[in-house]
Amino acid sequence: MSEEAQRTSPRLVVVGNGMAAGRMLEELFQRAPDKYRVTVFGAEPRVNYNRIMLSPVLAKEKSYEEIIIHDEAWYRGKGVRLHKGETVVSINRAARTVTTASGRVEAYDQLVIATGSTPIAIPVHGVTLPGVVTFRDLDDVETMIDQAKPGRRAVVIGGGLLGLEAAAGLKAHGMAVSVVHLMPTLMERQLDPSAGYLLQKAIERRGVDVFTGANTQAILGDASVTGVKLDDGRVIPADMVVMAVGIRPNARLAKEAGLDVNRGVTVDDFMRTSDPHIHAVGECVEHRGQCYGLVAPLYEMAKVVAARLCGENSAAYQGSLTSTKLKVSGIDLFSAGDFGDAENDEIVLRDPSRSVYKRVVLRDNRIVGAVLFGETEDGAWFFDLMKKQTDVGAMRDTLIFGQAYQGGSPLDPMAAVAAMPDDAEICGSNGGCKSAITSAIARDALTSLDEVRAQTKASASCGQCTTKVEALIAAALGDKYKAANRKPMCKCTDLTHEEARGLIISKKLASMPAVMQELGWKSSCGCPSCRPALNYYLLCAWPLDYKDDAQSRFVNERVHANIQKDGTFSVVPRMWGGLTTPHELRAIADVAERFRIPTVKVTGGQRIDLLGVKKEDLPAVWAELNKAGLVSGHAYAKGLRTVKTCVGKEWCRFGTQDSMGLGVKLERLLCGSWTPAKVKLAVSGCPRNCAEATVKDIGVVCVDSGFDIHIAGAAGLHVRATDLLGHVETEEEALEHVAAILQLYREEAAYLDRIYKWVEKTGLARVRAKIMEDHDARRALYARFLISQRAVRKDPWAERVAGFGAKEFTPLAVVMPIAAE
């Protein structure tokens, strides 16, 4: 720059010396190296470095020197006056000057605000203790490295991008690291639950403990940090706490200068603030309601600011599509765009044995989002197709396999298997290669999938390769092969209900994303048919740990009432064994009158149904009924409905046992339990069977010598008399046997199969052996039943009355005209 230019060219002042400012200057000098006299103020006492590479610095994979973008020589060469460690504290827009903390005043013709963002500290007790650090700049990293000694313990609060990178970095220093994350899955803003599940598994495999759904209540310690307390009472010991819950745009300077500020400094498409002499760029900016924390958008903004400063009036910023990668070595993930829940049109590919998950979401044949885990080579390609809005209709069938597979024809699975070499792996779980399976088929004359599974173990573990194994059998047997009558659960999987249940137990799968990933679900989050089933299977398998997913339940089970054709609900309180009292009847009558319940009906299960209750009245109706001691009758549930009784020996001249008493005891023992389908019981006091026990799911018929236990009756669409399972002598035995039957049914039946369906499939003799003959098995079933009942021993109505999920019952908003029209 000539001396003349030095004196007369306009003055550009840049507040902030981070990546956005640096890139903006580069773009500017490329266009017009001499247009401005440039002054830069940076709050950090150093030159511009690559902030996104701080994780590798923390992990000791890189040094500070390696991540410098512009060294001192660069600033000198460009004639930039750089003030390191000098914070701008105010802007005088009228005088067009900025003032720094040290009192320096600098005049500008054009000002660029690039103040970046600041880490958010959650407002909990102990947040100011020594040992609590943020992860934002090199000083933070140096503090962490200084404190990170092998054997010391770190808790990272926040399981997003930054938190996980911090955790991996600290782990590399030999610390014991835990991540505490508020949401149920990690990086939930960038990943769907399936990828979040795999990520958690990968992080845990590195020895980092992960607590999801965990809300930090306080940071503990007197002189310095000693631990983190969660709101469920758990305490995680810690010598260091890293606060990585997020960042917020640093817009304070702009706000105090009277510029328009929202979450960030608001700018138009030309990156102009509300003052025409001031532009803003980077993480401090809010553009079209959007704030960005990733580097690609900052670069796009920087380009526009530089162009505008050079008088290119056509340059405009349109907002950015962003993509995410995690910089933790050995963990490959990629996400871009909108993939929240567009299962309407998605392509999913999972490989459980290699922890691979790929999902591409389409709308109108265009990619709108992609999530990749485990194999991310095609991320850039998908992202490019997405940005260009390319019509991918023609390559839809092969799209998910990536760029390398395009142009070929989609494979016919049968031909594909036939074309495989003999040593090709068919079953990844049990190591069955193609020739091992085909030779077993020939040698042992196997003709069915079950036989192949028994002989070779192929497809016997996770069932992933079932289709391939079936294709091998079909190829070997030709027309003689009759495909087994296997009915997959739904279009999301090839597994049957029974297979999926078995695998949930054997592979210890404890969450919906775990099931879907490890069993290779073909959709990202299931469908209305498999979700309720899986929710039940998980609940049954892990009664004390699994958290019920209300949104995977039919409305009746969600609101504890039965929806009717006009959208109102029916309410049925329990009447134990069909018995009631004047007090209860009075309470029911009062409720019916008070809430103007139009229909009151006696049900077939010996209780009273209140029909036509408005949804918003439900909690109040329950509260009134609760007050009289009435609880939910679960008339809506796949669970125990009623235990119908006849009078029995207390009054009846034919009665042989106390059928009413046993009915009440049974109902109290079994109620609240979730089952694959509804369950109805009855106890008859003598073989005249007035309680119609022989058409119930489980029926007890009292006789002089004790109790006959019947199962598998039905009296609905299908009518079927029960089968006699066996005879017991005492009431205690009757209770234990019935509960054990229920538990066996709970553990084995396919979702929605009533007991008679399940018995038809599994065989009466088998049930009899387990319940009547194998006493240890029965006692174990009974014990498991009692454990699972612990988790449900609360009245759902009372929970709701107490406020649990109260929002379910009230409108979000009521918009009514103030006066009549």
């Binding site: 909108d338 929240g340 829940d341 309407n344 054709k565 379910e808 979000l812 918009v815």
Partner: protein, 112 residues
Amino acid sequence: MTYSAPDWFDIGPLEHIPQRGARIVKTARRDIAVFRTAGDDIFALENRCPHKGGPLSEGIVHGRKVACPLHNWTIDLESGAATGADRGCARSFRVKIEKGRVYLEMSVAVAP
């Protein structure tokens, strides 16, 4: 014909609608079901299934669809149209999220 600017009504914070769920907005003219997907997209439909008037807000939300609780018709949340072999369409209304709050375009929502 008169032009009227969109009439955006703040109907509450997004987190008051459960993910994969719905809440209703009551107006003098009709109940409107506001749905929230797992991906935090929101949609507003008249709370009546085109089949037999079932309350769509009570259905299971999956993807960008909802299954009516009465007879399991599947309704596309974006268009309100029945999917598959079923024919019919629930009225849909404009709705948007701004700064974590949900806005419903009310001039259309309360029109006949």
